[in-house]
Amino acid sequence: MRSSKPTNVVIAGLGGQGVLKASDILADVVFGAGLNVKKSELHGMSQRGGSVSSDVRFGETIFSPMVPEGEADFLVVLAEDQVPVNAAALAPGGVLIEPSQIDESSLSTKKSINVALLGVLSRHLQFPVEAWIAALKSNLAEKLHEANLRAFYLGRDSGQTSGQAK
């Protein structure tokens, strides 16, 4: 693959699950690493429990902020029932990351599923762990740091083996 082709990540789930927060964190990690990044989503109804998805693209040259259908290198889905809704986003050979890949019962709160799955994603991307930690901290209120750091490492450690290529 030419390095000019962007890496495409789609994060999807239901309103209130922290889809947009997860994509903000990812975008900050990428931006902090000095790469060009574009992030796009539709919000408005996002807190009302409907389907939500957010696109993050990074690389040297990016034009459209939206990940073209069938071109997501990574599809991170925070709710199992949203996998079929978003499956068409994934590129052939792309990586699907979903809640079943982590031990959800180990999460201190279900609310940190977004960060746990970012932990899984982090194994696939070459950004230093410090960058993830910094982005997590700058995007979350201080009282949430501990639970989310644990969630991140839960995902990052379980991500060593999982991440099905489709």
Binding site: T7, L35, V37, V85
Partner: protein
């Protein structure tokens, strides 16, 4: 795949990477507009919340700018006109349908001579992610005779806001900054300080009635001046406007603007592209020369065939997109199809989960009662429009801000009494302030024989757009205490005798009985179902606590 990345970039990574380059930040288009307004010394930002424009004023305030929510977009624009008449710089923000409300002042301020700058941001919503229509507000620039810029990413949102101020001051005209959902809400990297404008002049006022008082005698020559100025702007746009030529193949040329430009560059990297940044008045001669330089000239634009019509009216032969692509947003897949002339049916996306009322939302109680009573419900714009969806399906009509009351009255005047007696106008608190008050006046002025019931769903905040304050909350954009419209006092002051305030969540039977008793009377009733939005309760408590503390300190 990631190994293809230039890893040396990340090897040199430090957590302070961008602290060395303060000029760069990752911003949404809305945030970029706010930053530009701040950098240009805009003295006042006004507006009414509306997705996808809402964050502009919030970000402007966070940066330290003075920002105010107005009761509606018309008032917001009028205030901004006053600022520009005083020689200062103003920005006014709204969603596309907000410009309908503000169109009255817009069309005539186009005739006036401004001393300061007036940038009107219209955030359009192609595809209707969160709107009731997908009108293309580029038509407003043409109709009102107001110049227009269209950014395609956050960097341009930043730069075009500054350019808009320049153009506004150079020609003493209001200017439209037309954004769309994807430009407003996408985050892209912005370099600050790429464009600068001279500082704004001091606030001053000199009497100049022919320039500002648009009585017919002054408006007639003003209209002539406007057309002359637009001709000058068109010539300037041809020569020096913020348009960009990307040289490429001579076999295919594409004229485009806004977000469509980004899709075009991705899909057709080989094509020649004329990217229009100023789309009214159009740089017609530049377009003509471009079209002549390529074998096939296409126009790729989101929404209406605005550029196509502009080109064709000037006698430039261009190919437009098939009609099916007028609907909804464009993306790279659709642009590829447009370029290929593909009109075969598009693959349908697997439908996602529809949004619904939050668990415990007070609107649930209100709609349960309305459904149980088999009411006819003209409704309005806000979260409570979700009452049109299952399981309630209890909102029968929704057209625009404030329409619930007028539509309810029209139904009452027209339906046979047995049906008329079931009509309840449902409207939210912020929407009531925006456009419902005049409806209430219509109701007391022309009362239906069967009476009428207005149900104000007062959840104490503009919830739909993300918890903005409004005059009914008694707190301003910065959440500080200010004057407050008390709905029950307002209704009583109009002579409405049946005014009730009730928490619909406490006792559903009691709430339902109250509505029923109002429906049974041939009188006018206003029922205020008051219960704070669950998502806002904690924040509201905190604002009130801070305000209390400030008052006692």
């Amino acid at each position: 795949m990631y190994t293809e990345f230039k890893i040396e970039k990340t090897q040199g990574f430090t957590l302070n990477y961008f602290e060395q380059d303060h000029a760069l930040s990752l911003l949404s288009g809305d945030e970029a507009v706010a930053m530009a307004a701040f950098d240009a010394g805009v003295t006042l930002g006004t507006g009414y919340p509306g997705t996808p424009s809402t964050e502009i004023l919030e970000a402007f305030e966070t940066l330290g700018g003075r920002a105010q929510w107005s009761p509606n977009e018309k008032v917001a624009l009028e205030v901004a006109i006053g600022v520009a008449f005083a020689g200062r710089r103003a920005i006014v923000t709204m969603k596309h349908v907000g410009l309908n409300v503000a169109s009255d002042p817009l069309f005539t301020v186009a005739y006036a001579r401004l001393d300061g700058a007036l940038v009107v941001v219209s955030a359009d919503d192609p595809g209707m992610a969160s709107s009731q229509n997908e009108q293309d507000n580029r038509r407003y620039a043409l109709a009102a005779g107001v110049p227009m810029l269209e950014p395609s990413d956050s960097q341009e949102a930043y730069e075009f806001t500054l350019r808009a101020i320049e153009i506004s001051e150079r020609w003493h005209t209001p200017i439209l900054l037309r954004m769309t959902t994807r430009v407003c809400h996408s985050k892209t990297v912005v370099r600050r300080g790429t464009v600068t404008v001279p500082p704004s002049g001091p606030a001053h006022f000199e009497h100049d009635l022919p320039s500002r008082a648009m009585i017919p005698a002054y408006a007639r020559p003003a209209h002539v001046r406007l057309r002359k100025a637009l001709a000058e702007m068109a010539a300037w746009n041809d020569q020096a406007g913020p348009n960009q030529l990307i040289a490429g193949s001579s076999s295919l040329g594409i004229i485009t603007s806004g977000i469509a430009y980004q899709h075009v560059r991705e899909v057709a990297p080989e094509a020649s592209v004329l990217k229009l940044g100023m789309t009214y008045p159009l740089p017609v001669e530049r377009m003509r020369a471009f079209a002549a330089s390529v074998a096939r000239c296409m126009v790729v634009e989101e929404g209406d065939p605005y550029l196509v019509e502009g080109a064709r009216a000037a006698g430039i032969a261009v190919e437009g997109k098939p009609e099916m692509y007028r609907f909804g947003e464009l993306n790279t897949v659709r642009v590829r199809r447009i370029l290929a002339g593909d009109t075969s049916p598009e693959t349908k996306r697997v439908p996602g989960k529809a949004p619904s009322f939050c668990p415990g939302c007070p609107h649930r109680s209100s709609y349960t009662a309305l459904k149980n009573l088999n009411c006819i419900v003209p409704g309005d714009i806000g979260c409570y429009a979700l009452g049109a969806l299952p399981p309630f399906e209890a909102m029968d009509a929704m057209i625009c801000m404030g329409a619930a009351i007028g539509m309810g009255l029209g139904l009452r005047y027209s339906l046979p009494p047995e049906e008329a007696k079931r009509v309840v106008s449902v409207i939210g608190d912020s929407t009531f302030v925006h456009s419902g008050i005049t409806g209430l006046i219509e109701m007391i002025y022309n009362p239906p024989e069967t009476g009428h019931v207005v149900l104000i769903l007062d959840n104490g905040i503009t919830a739909m757009t993300g918890m903005q304050e409004h005059p009914g909350t008694g707190r301003n954009l910065s959440h500080a205490r200010t004057g407050k419209v008390v709905f029950e006092d307002l209704a009583r002051s109009l002579g409405i005798r049946n005014v009730h305030v009730i928490d619909p969540t406490l006792n559903l039977d009691k709430f339902q009985e109250l509505i029923q008793s109002c429906l049974d009377k041939p009188e006018l009733s206003v029922v205020i179902a008051r219960r704070d939005c669950l998502l806002a309760t904690r924040a509201i408590r905190e604002y009130e606590r801070c305000n209390e503390k400030q008052q006692t300190d």
